[in-house]
């Protein structure tokens, strides 16, 4: 893929010197491609002799497959192949592990046995000359199952639940001090249960895979948040050397976690393409996305909180009952924020997980953080009314210079400034603290706030930076841009080091053949890949300096290399700025098409002894109809401390996108399973509501924008997820402030308010 390079602007050479490219609110590098329809997503590659694949799914939620009646489908003209468990290629077992970059989304390979774990599970694939024929074939195939009793009701299955003993290596339950003792002795005690429903990611672009075999080599055009992980899993599972598999994911139309790992449809596409020796395209329907590409599981959170009369927390217990499938031990770790924001000497965080005949849950934007903060920040709001304290004051009372979890100082934390700036922008002081007192045009008005948080995460990442002989440059990395701005931010980092305009740099991402990068999840792309781009660019400049000082025709010949630096597209001698050489001249004279630097950057130990965590303060204003219970978020403000900002514009988009997704979580989103069949009833965008423009109010996002140099060389912490984390609680708190009604069950819909209004 080539991105269009804008012609350098007239005064660019002087600009390059003056402008700090990191942080500049640059437009998206891929904006024009996307708005003109030129950006090609996984299903957009027109290939000759394309075959269309449509998955065949199980109508039953549990049991086993007896057989597929395929005769009628096979007779349909244009049908090429019906892939079933009987003719499927045997898949090699792989290590299902994050650390080795071979993480599967569902811990089971498709069509290797006859077991059925959930309704909508793939039991085959119909491949045909056209999409319509493949759909018709899939419809004609009768799936005969032996149904068994399905586990579909969380409450009924509770006796068979398990208590996980760790979360990513952290032993569970998490215990500090003695909760029971402290709670019974404390002055103020509060207990409440908060519940959140199953939610689906529903990115705009459906999951899609186009599989193309070229001899022994396999190319997959795949919509994924992790090209390297997908390459490893597909290669290992099919028994291919990894260098023979290439994943291309130039553009991703949103992922939010559900495209983090390889789901079974990708392997079905690859297997079918292998059998037919033709390109095969599989695009999941919205309905198939409800069954088999993950979801956020429901939570039932029991919270007890003890406090002094002055509002100092003395004891917290947070017990979460959540759900997973019979295939994987997924944990929606809602207790995370409870452990890690406020200092409280006595704490107990525990979990209980129910297995259901649902597909495997997966990470969904701020997994654990946003569900857990809904509960914690709601209960703190309740406590603030009990104590007659301002909600912000209550929170300030319980902050600490050290992380409550690790008892280490923060690498860099500006949480207090978040509250301060946020309440100023939002106008928190104008709030009458008494509920049900503020009114506007016949509506009850409420103002609420909540703390936002997300841990600082980074992984090893690599990048290559090329300086080309025409004076332009390229950044290459096997990371991917989910629509977040990575194409743009990575070249801003390179521009800052190379000292050329970012308009002369092209980012090449989303291809597993580039230097490896981690999954674009856990808000870690900027912090993981960014430092590698910086280092690679430094290496490229260094290499260029080495050439110039060895080049007898250069005015920099034999000058000390430490006194040469890049400025304005040139190398400049520090002691005599008249001695300069333009990048392209050096390369041309030495007959070089380009020079490059490559860097693989691992997290170093500079953050050792510190806890890295991002925080924020979020505010919401709601209007509630006093008779009808209709709720609208009318204003939102979020101020985030996420380290250094790479691009003010894309960062703001990320933050407000997260906040609007938070409105969905607060007011709209809920996945419903049929209680008898286990099928997702809300498997379409008519029944599964997400906010529309009319629900998206004036949203303001601001950043503290102070670098966290202990965390990495750029001082960035990433902000993909923090924007959503406090919204549900801030909204619920605002609804309480407006109405005096506390809703502890998401989403907050008019029917839940009605009986109290």
């Amino acid at each position: 893929m080539t991105l269009k390079i804008n012609e350098p602007k007239a005064k660019e050479s002087t600009m390059a010197k003056a402008v700090q490219w990191i942080g500049a609110p640059l437009d998206r590098a891929d904006g024009e491609l996307k708005t003109t329809g030129k950006a090609r997503y996984a299903a957009d590659f027109p290939l000759e002799r394309m075959v269309y694949g449509v998955p065949i799914v199980s109508p039953a939620a549990s049991g086993s497959l007896i057989k597929l009646e395929v005769e009628a489908a096979e007779k349909l003209p244009g049908v090429l192949f019906i892939l079933t468990h009987e003719n499927a290629k045997k898949i090699f077992p792989i290590q299902n592990d994050f650390g080795t970059a071979t993480k599967l989304a569902e811990g089971r390979f498709p069509l290797q046995d006859k077991k059925i774990y959930y309704a909508g599970q793939y039991v085959g694939l119909a491949a045909a000359e056209t999409l319509e024929i493949a759909q018709e074939a899939a419809r004609l195939i009768k799936v005969i199952c032996k149904e068994e009793r399905s586990a579909l009701d969380s409450e009924e299955e509770l006796p068979y639940s398990y208590f996980p003993d760790n979360n990513w290596g952290t032993p569970l339950p998490v215990i500090r001090g003695n909760f029971e003792k402290a709670f019974s002795n404390t002055e103020v005690q509060l207990k409440a249960v908060y519940t959140t429903p199953v939610e689906h990611h529903n990115p705009m672009e459906p999951h899609a895979c186009t599989a193309v075999w070229d001899g022994d080599n396999l190319i997959l055009y795949e919509s994924t948040q992790w090209v390297v992980g997908a390459r490893n899993v597909v290669a290992d599972a099919l028994g291919l050397p990894r260098e023979k598999v290439r994943i291309i994911s130039h553009f991703v139309g949103g992922g939010f976690g559900c495209k983090g790992f390889v789901w079974p449809h990708t392997l079905l596409a690859a297997m079918t393409a292998m059998h037919l020796k033709r390109p095969v395209k599989v695009v999941l329907s919205r309905s198939q996305m409800a069954a088999g590409v993950g979801h956020r599981p429901a939570t039932h959170q029991e919270l007890s909180i003890g406090s002094s009369k002055q509002g100092k927390l003395t004891a917290i217990k947070h017990h979460t009952i959540t759900q997973t499938s019979f295939l994987d031990d997924f944990l929606e770790a809602a207790g995370g924020p409870t452990q890690s924001i406020y200092s409280c000497p006595n704490l107990l965080v525990s979990y209980q997980v129910v297995r259901l005949n649902h597909g495997t849950p997966t990470f969904m934007r701020a997994p654990g953080e946003c569900t857990g903060l809904f509960a914690l920040e709601s209960l703190l709001d309740e406590l603030s009314y009990t104590l007659n304290l301002d909600p912000i004051e209550l929170r300030l009372n319980n902050l600490s210079d050290k992380s409550p979890e690790e008892e280490l100082p923060w690498s860099n934390s500006h949480i207090k400034e978040c509250y301060e700036l946020g309440s100023k922008i939002f106008g928190w002081k104008e709030r009458n603290p008494k509920p049900k007192t503020m009114k506007r045009k016949g509506f009850l008005v409420g103002l609420g706030m909540a703390t936002a948080m997300f841990p600082g995460v980074r992984s090893p990442g690599a990048a290559k930076v090329k300086i080309l002989s025409d004076g332009t440059a390229e950044v290459l990395s096997a990371t991917q841009d989910l629509g977040t701005g990575t194409y743009t931010t990575m070249k801003q980092i390179a521009a800052e080091v190379l000292r050329i305009s970012p308009h002369r740099i092209v980012s090449k991402l989303g291809d597993s053949s580039y230097p490896p990068a981690p999954v674009s999840g856990g808000s870690m792309t900027s912090a993981s890949v960014g430092p590698a781009v910086k280092s690679a660019a430094e290496k490229a400049i260094e290499a260029l300096i080495h050439i110039s000082i060895k080049d007898s025709s250069s005015c920099l010949y034999h000058l000390p290399l430490e006194k040469i630096h890049a400025a304005d597209g040139k190398l400049v001698y520090q002691d005599d700025p008249s001695k300069t050489e333009i990048f392209e001249e050096i390369l041309k004279r030495n007959n070089l098409s380009h020079i490059e630097g490559e860097s693989f950057v691992k997290p170093d130990n500079s953050a050792e002894g510190y806890t890295v965590q991002s925080h924020g303060a979020q505010f919401a204003e709601v209007e509630v109809h006093p008779l009808l219970g209709q709720i609208r978020v009318t204003r939102m403000v979020g101020v985030f401390d996420v380290g250094r900002i790479l691009n003010q514009k894309t960062a703001r988009s990320q933050a407000i996108g997260g906040m609007i997704m938070g409105i969905g979580m607060a007011l709209h989103e809920k996945t419903v399973y049929d209680p008898r069949t286990g099928r997702v009833v809300t498997d379409n965008l008519c029944d599964y509501l997400i906010p529309v423009m009319a629900d998206s109010p004036a949203v303001e996002a601001d950043f503290i924008d102070k670098p966290d140099p202990r965390f990495n060389s750029l001082g960035v912490r990433g902000l993909g997820e923090i924007g959503i984390t406090g919204v549900a609680a801030a909204t619920a708190n605002a609804v309480y402030h407006a109405t005096g009604i506390r809703i502890r069950d998401l989403p907050i819909t008019p029917d839940k308010l009605l009986k109290w209004l």
Partner: protein
């Protein structure tokens, strides 16, 4: 989508003739039909495209009132100056439904004929007597939060999803049907059938008949109206409950009242018992409350949609109070 024959016709006779074929359907704006065909819920053998028929006029009737051609686009109707002036409740109802893109494409006739949004009807696999006669109703013991509580039967409780039709019901609109020997008009409330044991029979439309127009009777001077819709999000969403009210005023007295409900019944739902209470009355909150109670008397809610009864009462109460405050010039 399955293969089908496509006819683009030029005359009503042609359309009428072709729609007598078994499995033939009429295509107007297509916003609902194409959706249904893509979901393979409707698999017509033939699609008769009537878009070139001259049915896109809005005209005044000699007897007063208006005749709206069945191919008038929803947006054009909603923004028509006479409609906005004379029947604001109709404009409000149309503009509260769907999205601007859909309203630009959808026609009046198509809006009348749109199918339910019941998720079990639309999934293509669950038992559903409306889709596959005799298979039963999955919503009854399944998920039915959005389903009807009025006019339901054991075999179906799916709502009619239209907003426009709720306003039309409150306006006593007449549906003009042509194609058979006799051109006829049917009041909108009789155009839709109750599901009873035959939920697949949805309208009084007979083979060879085509909706050519909707007639709106003239409203007396001093009529006040309101369309009120409650839904889970602010736009682009079907009603949990909606109400269209038309109050004929004389000075400060209500002479006649018409109330139609949406989102809560199997068809655009009139409540004559409740309306009667308002005839020749002085508006008051207490009266409106009694009226709302009466309107919901026959409601048969289930587990997930119990709230709709209370919500509907409040919607009626609020719509009546809003309408009685709206002065018509």
């Amino acid at each position: 989508m399955k293969p089908f024959r496509y006819h683009r016709i030029k005359t009503l006779q042609e359309a009428s003739h072709l729609t007598q074929e078994p499995g033939a359907v009429i295509l107007a704006g297509g916003t609902n039909l194409i959706d249904m065909m893509r979901l393979e819920i409707m698999n017509p053998a033939a699609v008769v495209d009537i878009q070139s028929l001259p049915l896109n006029q809005i005209e005044t009737l000699p007897s007063g009132g208006f005749r709206i051609g069945s191919l008038v686009r929803n947006s054009d109707l909603a923004f028509h100056p006479s409609i906005q002036k004379e029947y604001p409740v109709l404009s409000q109802a149309i503009l509260s439904g769907a999205s601007p893109q859909i309203r630009n494409q959808a026609t009046v006739g198509g809006n009348l004929m749109q199918r339910t949004r019941c998720t079990y009807f639309r999934d293509g696999i669950s038992p559903c007597s409306k889709r596959n006669p005799g298979t039963g109703c999955s919503a009854e013991h399944g998920y039915h939060r959005s389903h009807a509580v009025l006019g339901i039967s054991d075999s179906c409780s799916a709502t009619h999803p239209s907003d426009m039709c709720v306003a039309l019901a409150a306006l006593d609109a007449q549906i003009v049907l042509e194609g058979k020997k006799e051109k006829r008009t049917v009041p909108i409330t009789e155009f839709y059938l109750l599901p009873q044991n035959t939920p697949w029979k949805e309208t009084a439309l007979e083979p060879a008949e085509i909706i050519t127009a909707v007639d709106l009777p003239e409203l007396p001077e001093g009529t006040r109206t309101c369309y009120l819709k409650v839904r889970d999000r602010s736009s682009y969403e079907f009603a949990l409950v909606s109400a269209a009210v038309v109050l004929e005023f004389n000075q400060n007295q209500i002479q006649k009242a018409r109330i139609a409900l949406g989102g809560i019944a199997v068809k655009p739902w009139r409540v004559p018992e409740a309306e009667k209470l308002l005839h020749h009355s002085t508006p008051s909150k207490k009266l409106f409350q009694t009226c709302a109670e009466t309107a919901l008397k026959g409601a048969k809610p289930k587990k997930d949609n119990e709230f709709k009864v209370e919500l509907a009462k409040r919607v009626i109460l609020h719509a009546l109070s809003l309408a009685s405050k709206t002065k018509k010039e």
